[in-house]
Amino acid sequence: MEKGYLALVLHAHLPYIRHPEHEYFLEENWLFEAITETYIPLLKVFEKLAEDGVKYRLTMSLTPPLLSMFQDPLLQERYRRHIEKLIELAEKEIERTRWLPDFNRMAYYYRDLFTYARWYFLEKCQRNLVTAFKRLQDEGYLELITCGATHGYLPLMLQREAVRAQVHYAVEYHTRALGRPPRGIWLPECGYQPGDDEILREYGLRYFFTDAHGILHASPRPKYGNFAPIYCPSGVAAFGRDLESSKQVWSAQEGYPGDYDYREFYRDIGFDLEYEYIKPYIHPCGLRINTGIKYYRITGKTHDKQPYNPDWAREKAAIHAGNFMFNREKQIEYLASILDRRPIIVSPYDAELFGHWWFEGPQWIDFLIRKLYYDQKTIKMVTPSDYLALYPRNQVSTPSLSSWGYKGFNEVWLEGSNDWIYRHLHRAARLMVELANTYPEATGLKRRALNQAARELLLAQSSDWAFIMKTGTVVPYAVKRTQDHLGRFLDLHHQVVNDQIDEGWLRELEYRDNIFPDLDYRVYASHPHINRKVENLALAL
């Protein structure tokens, strides 16, 4: 009999980036790179495990923007174009590196990786990766949960209606895409503020996650620390992140991904190779960008990088998986000596860490799950739902406001670089609620304009923009997205109120900002009557 449980949680999210108005748009590559390096490799690992008869349970949040992009025909076609180009480049690399055996081997490796990705995407999934996730869900390996509709940071929203809309559209879209309503939610950035759980309950969500201190600083004091969930007064369960296991994977200094045998992220042939040769594969304007082909290992704190050796890296991934498991066993044995129940350790990570940043991450997960299944009896993998079924009785306590951002509160999304956005976001949300209250049953063109206004507001609320403004990498893009969506919202508001809707322009916006095609603006009403719609939808499925 196991002594405790491990809940691995992968949070998969990318902001909604889709620019049909441009033939090529660099930021769309975020999705393409993640498909090739993270999502397909993870799916491959999950499927192989299932095929080999390894039983496992893993929780994964697929955010509505990501699900939407997976299903968007324009982006699907652009991914095809992207992967074809990469395969072409890898073929050239095989030729170019024929006198450099270490590199040549990797060139073949990449060619195979990309060719597999193309096959998986085009043939196996018929361009729609959602089908692969859904299959693993239906077979009982993955518990897929949702997130905010556009990853809006809930603790900095003023209007309750705005928080409700983020949850409503998410649950609705998730249910439609995956065939069953989500049991849990990954709150965007793990951002929780007391009271938000009541809205989660309205939508049948049974659990969410907070960072460690969200539970440790809950009141009354939680008997089991963050090694068991607590129930909010609303009855929704909150699970706390385990910092120890997070650190082993996250930490830039001590974490596994920094190992010298792992692949070096920052040496990409997009920057390293001769300009004319690489030009067809970088930005059409000739600006050098990452291609995804990287030949070196981290090597050490040196600029003199050595060639990557996939065998050494694989060996390290196995060692690190063993180390992770060993530490969890020790942790659980120690906890078992203090607690009068079997503890749960919750280890959440950004999914894109695996494969994209930490190239060997999917291998590590593969080894870890196999080892957990075959090599020990102390720990069992569970999802939060499984744990709640085992332990339906839990302490009632209110978690503390918290997030998993730097310093643990709201500062990442509220500081000198981005605090200016809230004046506009809050006002737009207030106007949206007023619109929904003023026009409870709009039809025709007005209804379309109101629905589009809701889409623009939601897109403006993505926490990604504030985050980018803070980290300072592609700030002008984040500022522009914020301004564009808010500006479009204000124009739509003006047109609706003055009954002067420009249909041509509206159609253009519907085409560009096409997230949530079935969205109903009336969710923003202060007393919405359409909440039942989600239940009905769930029943219908």
């Binding site: 170019r96 003023l158 009354p220 040769y277 050098r288 950004d350 302490q395 951002g405 730097y406």
Partner: protein, 341 residues
Amino acid sequence: MTQQDLAGKSKAELLALAKEMKIKNRSRMTKEELIESLTAITQETKTATGTQAPEQPPVRPPEPIYTTGLIQEEQYCTERIEEKVYQLPPYYNETRITLLVRDPYWLYTYWDLDAGIKAALIKDYGNWDHVPLSLRVRKEPESGGGQPEFFNIPVSPQANNWYINVQPNRKYIVDLGYYSPSGEFITLASSNAVVTPRDCMSEVIDEEWMIIEEDFLRLYRLAGGGPAAGSVELVESLLKRLEREMGSAAVSSIGISSPAGRPPQERRFWLVLNTELIVYGATEPDATLTLNGQPVALRPDGTFTVRLALPDGVMSLPVTARSADGADQITITPIVSKETR
């Protein structure tokens, strides 16, 4: 924060504040010296930005060595649909103040005043800059009653937002107003109420779910509080870790295309040198061609180009063309030697 506000604080509170402000040598300062340094800092940031920055300006990561297309708008080389450029107004013509929580110790507030109120105030004070605008921060008493406490922060009429230093686990409302000539505070707008999060474990114990203190501290230590002994140290250690290493910001999921092509590095002079070799030629378009025994694709006109990385050493490159009917075959073998000194 004014000198009076600071004078009302205990030395411990001042030290905490000085720590937040990253004032050097704070532990060696007297209370008076602390007040002086803190006043200087707050005034400095006020004049610099018009708002009160709670700490040093954000440290920006170094500029990426390589620029990327997304930064220079004009460099998008694709055709653009006629694009409306949106500019958001710097303020709205409405009277309203909003309060947000940043963390247990800081609130953020922003506000707008409508033109009517502004005009009336200008009439009374002659000049907008002379209006004695002030924020009154009201703190709800802790449970057990008592009068609500409040403190005032005079703000420049040019400012429209402010960071306010507060206490954890307390409820706050802020009023925007001004002092009438008779010294009375006139409220123009009141904010929403917010509650700051606690920065420590709760003192509230649920009898049904009791755990001995010692065991809770062990759990807390295991959960991230580190090796510290007492509960206060544990909490500090946990919060420090969140700051140092745990945030998802450490390895962000987005920025996935790595706009900075290189990790930040110190300024250092450097040179990288590589060589490649281009082998090219032409034959009959329907011929087959091999290089080192491996097939090479011909262009429709029969020309070909092979590009190879060229390491040190001697390389032999037999290029063989064979006619479509297999009757003719020609081999040419260049030998290339490269060395680096």
